[in-house]
Amino acid sequence: MTASKQRRSGAHQVLLALYALFVLAAGARAAVQLATDAGRAPVAYALSAVAAATYAAGWLAIRRASVGRTGFASVMLWVELAGVVTVGTLSLVERDWFPDASVWSDYGIGYGFVPAVLPVAGLLWLRSQRPPV
């Protein structure tokens, strides 16, 4: 009883909602931009689609981790963080590749830097899921 009660803080619900939101936001953005004007910034738009796929995988990873299977999340959230950092840095260094912004441009500045905070928040939550060794 106490164990199940502890699980009920439901913090991961907020994470799941944010990941679902970003699947929609990044996915819709990539789909519209690739469909209407793909030639303008193909790298940026393709990376937006990659971001959407990453959020879908992240959503799944957090769902699995919330029932104790943390393996996928412990890899996936680092992949996501690496993606944000890599694309964010590239967008600053290789301006030519980004004539238009991508979801992770400038570390997610277009989304109030939530994309940079999200994997870190996820990893912190994941730590709390595991019993201290």
Binding site: G10, A11, Q13, A17, L18, V32
Partner: protein
């Protein structure tokens, strides 16, 4: 703008509920219902507005997409939080009501041609 103010009021209320670890009460659900009615009216008026007298550079479908999105967050949040009676479930609803004013900002941006 009145809708944004109501959303922020609901958000404040939800934050208090989260701190006290309570689930949403009836009064709050009534407030959310009022907001939702307002959002549906906003959706209809917005579609009429954008299809009749929008400046040429406003992307009609994108605008309508954001209008529909704004009207969907609150019902989705209510359903989600009623299925998840926990602090996190209430947090999801808080997120939903905060997204509504954000959608209004995006709609204003689109209308101004800022895309």
């Amino acid at each position: 703008m009145a809708l944004s103010a109501l959303c922020l009021l609901a958000a404040l209320w939800l934050a208090v509920l989260m701190v006290r670890d309570r689930t949403p009460d009836h009064l709050l659900l009534n407030l959310l219902a009022v907001i939702e009615v307002g959002l549906i009216v906003h959706l209809v008026l917005g579609i009429v507005h954008v299809t009749s007298d929008a400046p040429a550079d406003v992307s009609t479908w994108e605008y309508i997409g954001y209008l529909i999105g704004a009207a969907l967050f609150v019902p989705v949040g209510v359903v989600w939080s009623s299925g998840e009676k926990s602090r996190g479930g209430t947090g999801v609803l808080l997120l939903a009501v905060l997204l509504v004013p954000f959608m209004f900002v995006r709609l204003a941006d689109l209308w101004a041609g800022g895309a």
